[in-house]
């Protein structure tokens, strides 16, 4: 089985987020890492291989992003993926999800030209833009069925059966390869790279492709080709101090209720 896992390189969520003058995320000046939510996708791919012992399962980590984004691929390789493909091209900067999905789809097609791809896996959302739309867009572009937001993944042969936990109901969805599968953070903790994994990662094949390698024109992507535009950004306002109700004469309860009512909590 040939699996492609889409891994995104995102700014470290614990660090300050910066924007460029054109309102795109500053991805060069800040520390980045493999999106935590995509670690779950890598983990599920690895577990799949472990569960289906004896089968020949190859896992390729695919990332679209600036030069430093190779770190996201390296982390996936350290965790146990076999190969990396990094699509990097100045023209991609500022691409929205529609454009990003085009690049991912084309890259996946090139991977598939060498060896048929059975399964494309993604996280449930990126931790930076968090639109959650790439899996669907990818499926559309690749003309594949999509099974999204899987919290439990089981498979037998070509058939994948997943659990999808909604607010009101839990669905069991089945799909047949080839398909696009996105997994949630409920699938189980992702492993940390082992020492051997770290040592082995350096020797694993990692290809770097430009847009021309995958047959995408520069004017199909980038900020100017994007359907969406970010008009402005604003930092979240600092937390204001809470209101303290002191009760000296027994009026505390009333004051509390008044407060809750004024905020329309009750």
């Amino acid at each position: 089985m040939n699996i492609v896992v889409c891994v995104k390189y995102v700014p470290d969520a614990t660090a300050d987020r910066q924007f460029e003058s054109d309102n795109t995320v500053d991805r060069v000046g800040v520390d980045g890492l493999l999106s935590e939510l995509d670690e779950y996708a890598v983990e599920q791919a690895l577990q799949l291989r472990e569960k289906r012992e004896g089968e020949d399962i190859e896992i390729t980590a695919l990332c679209v992003g600036p030069e430093k984004a190779v770190d996201a691929i390296r982390k996936a390789l350290q965790m146990g993926a076999d190969k990396g493909v990094h699509v990097v091209d100045d023209a991609i900067a500022g691409s929205d999800s529609v454009a990003t999905s085009l690049v991912l789809a084309k890259a996946r097609e090139k991977i598939g030209a060498e060896k048929k791809v059975d399964l494309v896996m993604t996280g449930m959302a990126s931790t930076d833009a968090s639109m959650s739309v790439i899996p669907a867009m990818l499926a559309e572009r690749l003309e594949l069925p999509q099974v999204t937001f899987a919290s439990v993944v089981e498979s037998q042969g070509e058939v994948f059966r997943v659990r999808r936990d909604g607010d009101t109901a839990t669905e069991i969805v089945e799909g047949r390869l080839p398909m696009v599968l996105s997994v949630t953070d409920q699938t189980g903790e992702a492993r940390y790279p082992s020492f051997k994994g770290i040592m082995a990662a350096k020797k694993k094949p990692l290809e770097t492709w430009a847009l021309s390698d995958i047959g995408v024109e520069a004017d199909q992507v980038g900020l100017s080709a994007s359907w969406t535009a970010v008009e402005g950004t604003e930092a979240r306002p600092p937390r204001t101090q809470g209101e303290i109700v002191t009760d000296e004469d027994g009026s505390g309860a009333t004051a509390l209720v008044d407060f809750l009512a004024s905020k329309k909590f009750i």
Binding site: R74, Q78, R191, Y192, P193, S194, F195, K196, G197, I198, M199, A201, K202
Partner: protein, 387 residues
């Protein structure tokens, strides 16, 4: 080490271990310690991820890395509040000695368990009358047929209750000269005649120290590690790793203390709105601590690089210096961190005071500051032997 930075892999290893250890954290560690419980689940998780045995050869279940790698693991764990004392002992001392001098059969028997944490090996050299002066070790092994009969007493032995075996430094009688020479034995902790009692210590640590009574413990011939005549060389093979690990343990704790202190100094304001970190009386001692820690880390990395390059002698001097510098840096850093936090520096909540004893120990064990100064005076400076 042809350049003054660690390899990319080492850096990645530090990053991975740090992230891993953060998911356990200092609260987990001190919580276990204060409850009198062990951190076995963390130990096994370390083993499972291959972090514990990074220095053990691959063919015996390890990572095939060097002492510098396992020291990096030890340091990063300590730096996030999970100092693993038994890493100094089990993979580093015992693992190094057995990897280098054990017979093929001994390596296969003991190394995989040391590497994955399912079998921990403690190390016992110190005796009531032989701490700094290990020439006075009296634990002796005598032949009985092909077996060995071991007798003696050890003190301050860490983690005996968590260990499946103890690597015991003893002496055997030289057939020719009649003089006693050191020999290393692997003793199962459940062997008849092997008993141990905890020593109450003022340490916040899940690991305890024990007095060990070895009362005519019968051991098979192959409990003796490697060659009967190579005991001294074997012992030395464990000492450099021990010092490098102790140094890393200390600088890790020092980094934790300094991180807590700087974070606090940025937030806490006492007079007006100026954070206390703006006062040089607070800032300079912390800056000094940082410099001392970085120098100690550099010397530790040098010692590890020399050791991994096979230069035992060169590594010996550097490892001693690294151990000295790290203990000093750690004691200073923790002392200054306590001062920076004021009263909070002594609370359990802020987790700094607990580091005081832990770092103070580093000036004493596994080799005291004075013995290192003796060594440097004599070997590095060529001064007369003073003891």
């Amino acid at each position: 080490m042809s350049q003054f930075s660690e390899t990319e892999e080492r850096t990645e290893l530090r990053k991975a271990v740090r992230a891993f250890a953060q998911s356990w954290g200092q609260d987990y560690f001190t919580g276990k310690a204060r409850a009198g419980e062990k951190t076995t689940d963390l130990w096994l998780a370390l083993g499972k991820n291959g972090y514990l045995g990074v220095n053990i050869p691959e063919e015996y279940g390890g990572g095939g890395g060097g002492i510098g790698d396992v020291a990096a693991v030890c340091e990063e764990l300590a730096a996030v509040g999970c100092p693993m004392l038994l890493m100094v002992v089990s993979p580093a001392i015992c693992g190094s000695v057995i990897s280098r001098f054990g017979t093929e059969e001994q390596k296969q028997r003991w190394l995989p368990g040391i590497a994955d944490g399912t079998q921990t090996m403690a190390f016992a050299i110190t005796e009531p009358d032989a701490g700094s002066n290990s020439h006075r070790i009296t634990t002796t092994a005598r032949r009985d047929g092909t077996d060995w009969i071991l007798k003696g007493r050890k003190v301050y032995i860490s983690g005996v209750d968590e260990a499946s075996h103890v690597l015991v430094v003893a002496r055997t009688e030289d057939h020719k000269t009649g003089s006693l020479k050191p020999c290393l034995f692997v003793v199962p902790t459940d062997a008849p005649g092997f008993e141990y009692q905890p020593i109450p210590m003022e340490l916040v640590s899940p690991e305890q120290q024990f007095t060990v009574f070895i009362d005519d413990v019968r051991l098979p011939a192959d409990a003796l590690v490697g060659d009967e005549d190579a005991g001294l060389i074997q012992l030395f093979a464990g000492l450099n790793p021990e010092r490098i690990m102790a140094a890393s343990f200390a600088t890790g704790i020092a980094r934790l203390a300094l991180e807590k202190a700087t974070a606090y100094a940025k937030e806490r304001s006492v007079f007006r709105d100026t954070p206390i970190g703006a006062h040089q009386a607070i800032a300079h001692p912390l800056a000094q601590a940082h410099i001392e820690i970085e120098m100690a880390r550099l010397m530790t990395q040098k010692a590890a690089a020399l050791q991994d390059a096979g230069d035992d002698m060169g590594a010996g001097e550097a490892a001693n210096m690294a151990k000295y510098a790290s203990a000093e840096a750690a004691c200073n850093a923790v002392d200054r961190a306590v001062q920076t936090l004021g009263g909070n520096g002594v609370t359990q909540e802020y987790g700094v005071a607990a580091l005081l004893v832990a770092t103070r120990v580093m000036r004493i064990a596994p080799v005291s500051r004075e013995m290192i100064l003796n060594f440097v005076a004599m070997h590095s400076l060529g001064l007369p032997k003073s003891y």
